[in-house]
Symmetry: C2
């Protein structure tokens, strides 16, 4: 048996994750998920990336919004608005059941990984998805307008403030999910995939956990990352804007450089084939392949590319 | 100006309360509401009687269920059920906004009376409705099967266990809402109405607050109660079953006896006119009047009866 671990954040990462589940059974593939976006809102513990992956893998993701659940209704949030409650973070009626149940289970003393396993299992997801840590790690965006909790930056302020840098409060002391370290050190680990999530907001929180970063760097199996930057633009979200504000060149090469020392392979989009030679070096293999995932076949094909690539090391 | 205070619990009390608001403006009528049914469920602070009165006075009560909101949807609770969450206490999607907002405001340090005022005002209710106390008082039903929190007895167990007695945890030390005591002591108080709520489950929690009970007993204005027992049966809910289990005769007289020393007048239903002479005594005037409130006119007529009756003392 060969085992694979995939690191994923939000929507882009979940698309490749879905492709991977079509190629690998549950005992050969597991996910470790960013929880830096997690926040307490209206007294509820919201875990955006864990939920995005859960809804994606269970076939319940909302294709219209790109987040939340399919067949959603909005009577809760509409009513909350009329009552003068905070309505900047949209919560669907069905989605809310996940947040309320997660919060109640956490308050009852269950750790986040156990709650996550319950929710995923109940929705029929066979593959393991581990929060990067049961401890609280909070992504904080330091901007020209001040420090913002991630969701305040991302949703409430719609990524408008100029980013100076990004911090991950609690990361230094957070205990990494033990299964993640076990998989990274396992003799039968065949490879690690860093999915095309935002490197700065969605993957860096995991890399900010010292034990996870060093386990990834020391891992005997190859690690490949898929660029979320295609043709000099981000597929989705604020990646491009943030890279510009951080003074980084807006191309896939900057993403590869960001993962330097951690990855053995890098996949750029087919439209960026001209960058392959420029990015590759003695310690980094680079290939170009179609990476824009519109259909399920696109997701499976990119997953296939990543696994084949891992097999070349 | 003359002021009136009405004591109310759940659905039956709220019906008469609505009738009273059609006859008296907001500066002449206020309500004090049972909070012994309040409980924490799924991490949410639920205040059933405060909400029943709020929805009733704002025209949002659900005529089909007798509780909760009109035009309700159930996607949250349906989803929670599929996730293996506790679903014995039904929570509508719109109703949930009230519970989530109340809980968030309480956690942010606001007292229950302020939260209640915010919610009522936002829904357009002009009359003041005070929780009997900002402190936690919990109605506990001691049954042949053990001690049950009120909602576990009332909703989860559907009032099936045989009641031995009823306790109100926290009542001895709870601080009565100051405005209630101020109204009861006010020179211009013209009367108090004890609405036809369950005497043992909905009114007794208020009477278990020592300062509220003694203020009511000492009150210079007349106090009248409306019997929730009509023709030897309860209009709604477990009143009759509980009276039988407590060894009480199942008629309006037992309710009048229960309020002995607190009330000056008692209203039985027109169908119980034969009881008037039996119940009345030197310190208790009794009248018979139509008290089954099916229509808005029924509610207003009974309110009119109660106010006229108060005027006779």
């Amino acid at each position: 048996m060969s085992r694979y671990l995939a690191i994923t954040g939000g929507v882009g990462g979940a698309k490749l994750a879905l492709g991977l589940t079509h190629l690998l059974p549950a005992d050969e593939l597991a996910f470790v998920v960013n929880t830096g976006d997690d926040f307490e809102h209206l007294g509820l513990h919201v875990s955006p990336d864990l939920d995005t992956l859960m809804y994606t893998l269970s076939g319940l993701s909302n294709p219209d919004t790109g987040w939340g659940r399919v067949h959603e209704s909005w009577n809760f949030i509409d009513t909350l608005r009329t009552l003068g409650g905070e309505d900047w973070f949209n919560l669907g009626d069905r989605d809310l059941a996940v947040h309320v149940l997660r919060t109640a289970m956490l308050r009852a003393g269950q750790p986040l990984d156990a709650v996550t396993r319950h929710l995923y299992t109940t929705l029929g997801v066979a593959h393991a998805a581990w929060p990067m840590s049961n401890d609280r790690v909070a992504t904080e965006v330091v901007t020209a307008d001040g420090r913002l909790a991630f969701q305040h930056y991302f949703v409430r302020e719609r990524c408008a403030p100029r980013v100076t840098h990004i911090e991950f409060a609690g990361a230094a002391d957070a205990r990494v999910q033990p299964e993640v370290l076990a998989w990274l050190g396992a003799a039968d680990l065949a490879g690690v995939v860093i999915c095309p999530s935002n490197p700065f907001l969605s993957v860096d929180p995991l890399l900010a956990l010292p034990a996870l970063r060093s386990a990834l760097a020391a891992c005997h199996a190859p690690v490949v990352a898929v660029s979320p930057i295609v043709g000099g633009e981000a597929i989705k979200g604020p990646t491009a804007k943030i890279m510009a504000e951080l003074g980084l060149p807006l191309d896939a090469g900057a993403v590869a450089a960001h993962y330097a020392g951690l990855i053995d392979g890098f996949i750029v989009d087919a439209c960026d084939a001209a960058l392959v030679e420029r990015i590759a070096h003695a310690d980094l293999a680079v290939i170009a392949a179609p990476s824009v995932m519109r259909t399920l076949d696109d997701r499976i094909n990119l997953a296939h590319t990543a696994l084949e690539f891992l097999g070349t090391f």
